[in-house]
């Protein structure tokens, strides 16, 4: 039998198979977990927002990872149960927060730093985590009866999004009590970004860094 379809068509078909999801989540989890490795090693590269990365940072600084691990576990559990039911896995809660912050915090709290021994080990560890999550999601998809739903994700997301909004004023306050130039910069940056309709958080930090960098 000669297969007349081109490679592209076969690939299209393959990527639209339900079970291919496992491969995609493996790649995504590997990248995000390795991103956290980058953050631990080079101080940049975590795939999450400042407020959530700060929880991991607090763990690194104090050695107490409980808050980060338990917080992210909540989002991971919620999204893994919800994802298969609606056919759409939220990568923010499940992968970026759960795999990127929660599991690293859990591993580090147990003193298990093997997954972070080098880049390729981290990439592999992330892929294995993705494989496990992908398998769990596929199993739930097959087994879960219709009409059963995990509630609360919209409440959690709403609160999560509200949290981000608080960061900008807090940054201005922190900058103001740190140094007069940093404070002035933060005020100017926040006001300018607000006027332009951009995230005030970014404006406040950049303003503090630019004016502070010139005058301090």
């Amino acid at each position: 039998m000669e297969d007349k379809r081109s490679f592209g068509q076969k690939m299209d078909e393959f990527l639209l198979k339900d079970s291919t999801f496992i491969l995609l989540i493996m790649g995504a989890a590997a990248a995000i977990f390795a991103g956290t490795f980058m953050y631990l090693k080079f101080g940049t590269g975590a795939f999450n927002d400042i407020s959530i990365v700060a929880m991991l940072k607090e763990g690194i600084d104090t050695g107490d990872y409980a808050a980060a691990a338990a917080f992210a576990a909540g989002f991971l559990i919620a999204r893994i149960l919800e994802g298969p039911l609606v056919g759409l896995l939220d990568i923010g809660g499940s992968l970026q927060t759960g795999v990127g912050i929660g599991l690293p915090a859990l591993f580090l709290s147990m003193g298990w730093d093997l997954p972070f021994s080098n880049f390729f080990v981290a990439l592999l560890a992330g892929a294995v985590i993705g494989l496990v999550l992908g398998a769990v999601i596929m199993i739930i998809r097959k087994l879960m009866p219709e009409g059963v739903a995990v509630g609360g994700t919209s409440v959690m997301m709403g609160a999560g999004n509200a949290t981000g909004r608080y960061l900008a004023p807090l940054i201005v306050l922190a900058a103001a009590s740190y140094n007069v130039y940093a404070g002035l910069g933060a005020v100017i940056g926040a006001a300018a970004f607000y006027k332009w309709g951009k995230e005030m958080t970014g404006g406040a930090i950049l303003g503090a860094m630019i004016i502070g960098g010139i005058f301090i």
């Binding site: 700060a54 896995l89 960098g213």
Partner: protein
């Protein structure tokens, strides 16, 4: 430096490709499992297949991601949620305006997502790693206190009030687990989050449903384990 570039490229290509393919699959869900976010789906639809809209939407988030990466090494969730899918779509749509053949096609989105992902992650990590030490000192002096206030007590208060506003069942679960969590882990947020999860699920499915029982079991084990490892039981 070279290390950061190479690692970032690998991360961006793999992650960007897989997530963009997952995002294209959103248009075929729920028949096949996809990944992304409902808001991403809404935003992709809102740009209506116009490459300029997709590009400028992503660009707005690119600037805030860059600021956040420079300040705290946190690239934000938007890199994978918004920049990669929207710029990936913009690249494809510039050549072919039919969304069915571009944005909805996982293979094409995977290719463009991998390229965009690689470029964006390399750029953000490189910029973040070359900023002068003085500037990163200012950033951490400012962000340190701000984020620690945020983590405690601002976040517990926000999540707590969200739980309380979501009905009596959720409010009680949030309050009790939040309090227990504050005692055990020093922060109420994990408990409130899990309380919202259990409370809302119980409200919607009843306590007899398997999923609620599994959730309660997971949470009880989680807290007992944390309490044990943190020596909480020794305080009595």
């Amino acid at each position: 430096m070279l290390e950061i570039v190479i690692y970032s490229a690998i991360i961006g290509i793999i992650g960007g490709g897989c997530i963009a393919a997952g995002a294209a699959r959103m248009f075929h869900a729920p028949e096949i499992q996809s990944m992304g976010a409902f808001r991403t789906l809404g935003e992709l639809n809102a740009c209506n297949g116009d490459p300029i809209s997709h590009f400028s939407f992503g660009l707005g988030f690119f600037f805030s991601s860059a600021a956040s990466a420079v300040a705290a090494g946190a690239m934000t969730q938007d890199v994978m949620h918004r920049i990669v899918p929207n710029w990936g779509a913009a690249v494809l749509l510039a050549k072919n305006k039919k969304v069915e053949e571009t944005l909805h096609n996982p293979r094409k989105m995977m290719l463009s997502g991998a390229v965009i992902g690689g470029l964006v992650v390399v750029f953000l990590n490189t910029v973040a790693s070359v900023i002068p030490e003085k500037l990163s000192t200012i950033a951490s002096e400012v962000l340190g206190p701000a984020t620690s206030w945020l983590i405690n007590p601002v976040m517990p208060a926000i999540f707590w009030l969200a739980a309380v506003d979501a009905g009596k069942t959720t409010g009680i679960w949030g309050t009790v687990l939040g309090g227990v969590s504050a005692l055990i882990t020093g922060n109420a947020v994990p408990g409130v989050v899990l309380g919202i999860l259990i409370g809302k699920s119980a409200e919607e499915n009843g306590y007899k449903s398997k999923i609620v029982q599994i959730l309660i079991a997971i949470v009880v084990i989680l807290f007992i384990a944390i309490a044990y490892f943190r020596g909480f039981f020794g305080q009595f």
